[in-house]
């Protein structure tokens, strides 16, 4: 253990040693007048990208998916890769929050709120991509089971229907879990706000929470039970996404390892985004005492473990191809290393498996800059992985005469970067209206640390 770890308060810095300090620090971005110059710069940049995203979306809906680089062989393209990538990011928030709650990891207190918010936004953005990719998005509601005059029902054996259920249940459940943990903090804002309108708004959403022992008892029972069912749900969401691929008959997709490998990949990229958001909050709002170096240190360990699992998963894919001795599978693996996209494939291996190994050195884990840089690299690597899963398999399937490559158009890129801007836009708004860190949980953490 490093000398800087003070046994009494490992997870909270000197600026968060009393209830008043913690409450003031977390509620300042919402209730106080601070200097908002940096926030506005970020917000304007994010808004510009948001406009680009919605222009791309409207153009796409007006013209059809021919504006993208998809062709009759590589029919999925960016949309499905972006979908898998965003839902992966969206997966981590609820998983981090629920899993760390069940395993009594105290350090979740500083992270869970904004990680869950990240989940809500990322999963919602992810859900847009399959809709954009539908040839006829205006009949989207046909995958909802409801009695209708046409006498139609959804095809339950279709992966599209599973996706609909997985994403919508995930977003709805994550919202309930998030709101259930937010109610006590809304009451804090109600009690602190000086402006009567602000107080009324937070008061209404706090539902009259009084912090009564009965309320706490019921809230805690619900919260733990929800966490217990959230963990299998999160695993199932990304497993279903993996089944979109694995339930097919394509070389490189039809593998039993896909569901667990997608879940780990999701956790991996999601933790990467959590690091980036944590560092931004720490820098932007002066949360150094809430999100400490120790938090980055433990996340770096998680990233290291996940990087190793990812490496083993990639190796398992190569092994399966070799062991199956299936010509299409073997040709697929050779194509990954030597085909059109080999630089991206090597980039994927380097970014996802090799570079994160730097976290074996304690100095790298304890450097926030290093953890943030590696997290950005990991997310680029994970996007490479998602897009290559689509390109390599669809473009190099069983039929050699149907081998094609994918050439992205402007609208592919504008929707990808626009969606990143839209995420930032939503997250920046969130930091101004809701506490980015859970006030009552940090308060409880401080109480327990000071008692110990």
């Amino acid at each position: 253990m490093s000398a800087t770890i003070d046994g009494a308060s490992r997870w909270l810095g000197p600026g968060a040693q009393s209830s008043e300090q913690i409450t003031a620090l977390i509620s300042a971005p919402i209730l106080e007048r601070l200097s908002w110059r940096n926030w506005w710069i970020a917000f304007l940049a994010a808004s510009a990208l948001t406009v680009i995203m919605w222009i791309s979306a409207i153009y796409l809906l007006a013209e059809g998916i021919g504006v993208w680089g998809v062709n009759s062989v590589i029919v999925w393209g960016f949309a499905i890769a972006n979908y898998v990538w965003w839902i992966g990011i969206g997966n981590a928030g609820t998983l981090i929050s629920a899993l760390l709650l069940l395993t009594h990891q105290q350090w979740r207190s500083s992270l869970n709120r904004f990680a869950e918010t990240m989940t809500l936004f990322a999963a919602s953005i992810a859900g847009l991509f399959p809709i954009f990719h539908l040839g006829r998005p205006y009949v989207l509601y046909w995958i909802v089971p409801y009695p209708n005059r046409m006498g139609l029902w959804p095809q339950w054996r279709s992966a599209l229907v599973w996706d609909f259920w997985a994403i919508s249940v995930y977003i709805l459940f994550s919202f309930l879990f998030w709101y259930a943990g937010l109610i006590p903090d809304l009451a804090v804002l109600r009690d602190r706000a000086r402006n009567p309108t602000t107080r009324r708004i937070y008061g209404a959403f706090a539902l009259g929470w009084r912090g009564s022992a009965r309320h706490w008892d019921i809230q805690q029972r619900m919260y733990r039970a929800m966490a217990a069912i959230a963990v299998p749900m999160v695993c199932l969401v990304h497993s279903i996404v993996a089944l979109d691929f694995a339930a097919s008959l394509m070389p490189g997709w039809q593998e039993t390892i896909f569901p667990p490998y997608f879940v780990v990949g999701a956790l991996y990229s999601g933790f990467g985004i959590v690091v980036i958001l944590a560092a931004s909050l720490r820098w932007g709002f002066g949360f150094e005492s809430l999100i400490t170096r120790e938090h980055f240190e433990v996340i770096a360990r998680v990233l290291l473990a996940a990087a190793t699992v990812m490496g083993i998963s990639y190796a398992a894919e190569w092994f399966t191809a070799w062991y199956s001795n299936d010509a299409a599978d073997v040709s697929q693996v050779i194509y990954q290393f030597t085909g059109t996209y080999w630089p991206m494939y090597l980039g994927q291996l380097l970014f996802n498996c090799i570079i994160p190994q730097v976290f074996w050195w304690p100095a790298a884990r304890r450097s926030i800059t290093a953890v943030v840089v590696v997290s950005v690299i990991i997310n680029i690597g994970m996007w490479f992985e998602r897009i290559l899963i689509v390109w390599n398999t669809l473009g190099h399937g069983h039929m050699p005469s149907a081998w094609r490559i994918f050439l992205p158009t402007f609208w592919d890129w504008s929707l990808l970067f626009g969606s990143l801007g839209f995420f930032a836009f939503l997250f920046l708004l969130f930091t101004r209206v809701l506490p980015a860190v859970s006030i009552h949980e940090v308060n409880l953490l401080r109480h327990e640390e000071q008692k110990a």
Partner: protein, 173 residues
Amino acid sequence: MKHLFAAEFETAEELKRAAGEAAAQGCPATDALSPFPVPEVMQHLAYRPRPVMGWAMAIAGACGAAIIWFVQWFSATRDYPIISGSRPLDSWQIFFIVMFEACILCSGAGGFITFIINCRLPSLHHPLFEIPAIERASRDRFFLVFEAAEDLHDFVAERITRLQPLSLNSVAL
């Protein structure tokens, strides 16, 4: 006419001590307000929780699962049978996916509804909100709440004063 008393304490430890002493005096508190959960105080209150949460969530989840299973079975085998890839109409293995999702959603929603009903929320007005400085209960103060009928007002107030609270306020119901 009944009265609500709110006795203020500075720390969670003080709250636990006072709740224990009040119970020992035969005048247990009816409720406690705290900025974070203090589960140890529950045993001293004149209130026994009914642990219905787990049951409510389990029943809601089971109902959701059963309903969606029936919808899948009925639509796929009776109302709208389509043969796809020569798989059987009653592909029950596949039905597990949507059934599981529906189970999770219904048990989560059931849990939240149970929480709202059991806490009697939303209750935007409550007599306790009339007590001065009660807003600190969400930040850094701890309160024990007592209920007393009109004729017991002075007796209960005296008992509470023995607990040495930082302040003691009451509000008529």
